[in-house]
């Protein structure tokens, strides 16, 4: 019996080592850059990191990222001046674009469409509207030099906070233990393909079984509508609170949104108060090809091209370029 355990243990260990090597050689697991909080308590990536982002069991989506000196994924450095025309794209993982090669980003596509401008992409996975305005507020000097700022917003989950606070949960991903675990590409790979979900689900089930809660109350349609309405009003109040606290330049700032998933209350608020926004819903709706990745809900190359086109058209329409 001892022999069985010893030999099985040895085999398992050797197999794990070989699998770790295979995953590294074929780059099946994704690289995860290190994050940090800067002096303004802005969460971003540690500058000057390079790596590859991988999606799918069999490397179905493979792209390179490059974190610049400012701590964002971009092929350029952010050095705004009075003379140049600069555009900032601020947003979450959709703008950050780890699922695309950094030299083929939305910003790069806009630059190709509108010659003579520089596009700075301040994208970071998980950024909500509070993160975005806090970033702009913290780097006011830099952003004052930028001619136009476009902020990606998703009404349903970007306005849950009325003021900025450091998101400790995200930073916890960079604890020493987590960083150590991430050193194993096999572990990172297994996590990304969902093989480690069942143990987590089992723990959740056990916890739920031990701490048996009161059964959740069934809510009727009327009550559900009331809750939805209340939530939307709260999000609107959060929007107002955030722009009052961190400032919002209506002349220079434009929101980027999809009206199909945005509350009509919020849209009419924006219209009534002269907030500019780019609505890409029609472009996406009319697209005959899929706009998202297969293994992921993020925009694929076609989706990013459509977004870049929508922004480019908007900028050209506004004639944002400085005359030299």
């Amino acid at each position: 019996m001892k022999k069985l355990f010893l030999k099985s243990g040895l085999y398992i260990l050797l197999i794990l080592i070989v699998l770790e090597a295979i995953i590294r050689v074929f780059h099946l697991g994704k690289d995860t850059p290190t994050r940090f909080l800067d002096e303004y308590k802005v969460e971003k990536w540690v500058p000057n990191q390079n790596g590859f982002s991988v999606t799918g069991n069999r490397r179905q989506n493979f792209s390179e990222f490059h974190i610049n000196n400012s701590g964002f994924n971009s092929y350029r450095e952010f050095t705004p001046t009075h003379d140049q025309t600069e555009i900032a794209l601020v947003g979450d993982s959709f703008i950050e674009g780890f699922h695309q090669d950094y030299y083929n980003s939305i910003g790069k596509k806009i630059e190709n469409n509108v010659p003579g401008i520089e596009v700075y992409e301040y994208g970071y996975a998980g950024y909500d509207f509070a993160d975005q305005l806090h970033l702009i507020h913290s780097y006011k000097k830099q952003f004052d030099l930028i001619d136009h700022v476009i902020l990606g917003i998703k009404f349903s989950n970007d306005l849950t906070r009325s003021e900025y606070k450091v998101v400790s949960g995200r930073l916890a991903l960079d604890t020493p233990v987590n960083r150590l675990l991430k050193k194993s590409k096999l572990l990172v790979y297994c996590k990304s393909i969902g093989i480690l979900d069942p143990p987590q689900e089992l723990l959740y089930k056990i916890r739920k079984f031990i701490v048996s809660k009161q059964p959740e109350k069934q809510i009727d349609e009327k009550e559900a509508l009331r809750i939805k309405d209340e939530k939307e009003r709260k999000y609107l109040a959060n929007f107002e609170s955030l722009i009052n606290k961190y400032g919002y330049d209506k002349n220079r700032f434009t929101l980027l949104l999809d009206s199909r998933i945005t509350s009509p209350i919020f849209l009419s608020y924006l219209d009534q108060n002269d907030f500019k926004y780019i609505d890409f819903s029609n472009t996406f709706k009319e697209s005959k090809r899929s706009t998202t990745l297969i293994y992921d809900r993020h925009w694929n190359n076609h989706g990013r091209t459509l977004i870049a086109r929508a922004i480019s058209n908007y900028l050209q329409h506004k004639d944002i370029r400085k005359s030299k």
Binding site: L19, I22, I294
Partner: protein, 483 residues
């Protein structure tokens, strides 16, 4: 609890260690522990149905004793009927009741009567009922035919009925094989254990990599057959052949491997049916335990092949229809069985039904002959054709599927419903078939390599395959659980 679930991978080592370290002293302790473990294993699905297993166990335990102790043929027969009626009654109620009611309603509606039935019931099919009822019935039948002496130990018999590795989807064991092992004290055997682990690994590969990876493609093609050309439909049903093979033979390998860990040898259930050279050979290699059951308890009592040709043909038709109906309460399965009878009978009449019984393709050669390749292709095509009925939701769908193949006989490249590269699956299947061909002589030794290094590489590749094709979004249950 599924064999491919985390729960099982926690359950199995605990039971294994307790079995060999704590309960290894006495045979009674071993059996008692296996019985409890089996009831826990099954009860985690639905504890209410444990009472059905217990009832089936009690009925057959006592009918077996009575049949054995009596010399009066009438009495013996009467008690045999008690056992058969009880088990078939359980099956009939839980599996076939609604089917009979619905079929009756359909039949009278054809005659012009419209009846709104309130007789159909919301019945959950207890997992494994088709398997353990057949196993317990075989016990009473063997005693009746005086092939077996009943056990007086109820715990041993209950363990035989509910032995968890094969409780829910077989192999359907006969008491002469399994019960005799259960009534003998098991001793730890290193080689047997490692063989078991290898079979578990290979079974998991077949399930996770072959069956589960093909499932989304097959589901998509069968659900939307009306919008696909013939090329896609043929691809879909061919892939289903591999899916159902990977699923069920994978399950059987895990079951046989798990039983080995407890010192018990179960019968082989699959012997590489993909390489069958005619349909008769296919049935000697596919779901062997069920075929053997039907041969022993239905075909031979009906006279088998020792009666006139006409009666033998009748027996073959009965066997295949019953076998089809065993698979599910749906006309599709009866049609599937009927089709197999139809393609088996010519082989039987030509006397070619036993010619491949004791050999495999390319028996003493590396490569098969052209004739053998053609034979395999024809057999695979026929069996795959029958799978249209096996997989379709209804007879209408099955004929709709076939009609679409005939009326839309065009080629179009198929795209995976989730957008994955189809070439990955073709390469995977190619490699799988080649490997199965390599190991075709022994279904119980999937990693038979002399070199330790080669064996290690094989283990690693199998595990890597599982990682590369693992899909956390799909339903992981086994196809044969529904039967």
């Amino acid at each position: 609890m599924l064999f491919n679930s985390l729960e099982f991978f926690i359950f199995l080592p605990i039971v294994f260690i307790a079995y060999w370290y704590i309960f290894n002293k006495k045979i009674r302790a071993q059996n008692m522990f296996l019985l409890v473990a089996s009831y826990v294993f099954y009860g985690l699905w639905d504890w209410r149905f444990l009472f059905l297993i217990l009832a089936s166990t009690i009925v057959d335990f006592f009918t077996g004793q009575i049949i054995h102790s009596s010399d009066v043929t009438k009495k013996r027969k009467a008690w045999l009927w008690v056992s058969v009626l009880f088990n078939v009654g359980l099956l009939g109620f839980f599996k076939y009741y609604n089917f009979f009611v619905d079929s009756w309603i359909d039949f009278v509606s054809v005659l012009g009567y419209d009846i709104k039935s309130t007789w159909t019931l919301q019945i959950i099919l207890p997992v494994g009922i088709s398997f353990y009822t057949f196993q317990t019935m075989s016990y009473s039948l063997d005693i009746y035919y005086k092939r077996l002496t009943p056990t007086k130990d109820f715990i041993s018999f209950a363990t035989f009925v509910s032995f968890f590795p094969q409780l829910v989807a077989g192999p359907i064991e006969r008491a002469s094989n399994l019960l005799s092992q259960i009534t003998t004290k098991r001793v730890f055997d290193y080689v047997q254990c490692t063989d078991g682990l290898k079979l578990i690994l290979w079974g998991l590969f077949k399930k996770i990599v072959i069956a589960d990876a093909l499932a989304p493609i097959v589901d998509d093609i069968f659900a939307n057959y009306g919008s696909y050309p013939a090329s896609t439909l043929i691809l879909g049903v061919s892939l289903f052949s591999f899916q159902v093979y990977g699923d069920f033979s994978g399950y059987s390998d895990i079951a046989i491997g798990t039983a080995k860990l407890f010192g018990i040898e179960l019968m082989s259930n699959f012997k590489f049916p993909v390489f069958s050279r005619n349909v008769a050979e296919y049935w000697q290699r596919w779901h062997v335990s069920l075929s053997t059951w039907f041969r022993h308890y239905v075909y031979i009592p009906l006279g088998g092949s020792r009666v006139s040709k006409l009666k033998s043909v009748r027996n073959i038709i009965i066997i295949f229809l019953v076998s089809g109906f065993w698979h599910g309460a749906n006309w599709t399965f009866i049609a599937w069985g009927a089709f197999h009878a139809l393609i088996y009978i010519p082989i039987f009449l030509m006397g070619r039904n036993r010619m491949y019984m004791n050999n495999v393709v390319a028996e003493n050669r590396w490569f098969p002959t052209i004739t053998e390749i053609l034979q395999i292709l024809v057999t695979f095509s026929l069996v795959t054709f029958s799978r249209v009925f096996f997989r379709s939701q209804s007879i209408t769908d099955a004929f709709g599927f076939l009609e679409q193949i005939c009326t839309n006989f065009t080629y179009e490249a198929y795209e995976h419903p989730l957008g994955y590269r189809m070439i990955d699956y073709f390469l995977l299947l190619g490699a799988f078939v080649l490997y199965e061909y390599r190991i075709r002589r022994d279904e119980r030794a999937p990693f038979k390599f002399k070199s330790k290094i080669v064996r290690f590489i094989a283990y690693t590749l199998v595990i890597l395959g599982m990682l590369l094709f693992f899909d956390d979004q799909i339903d992981r249950s086994f196809i044969y659980f529904q039967f």
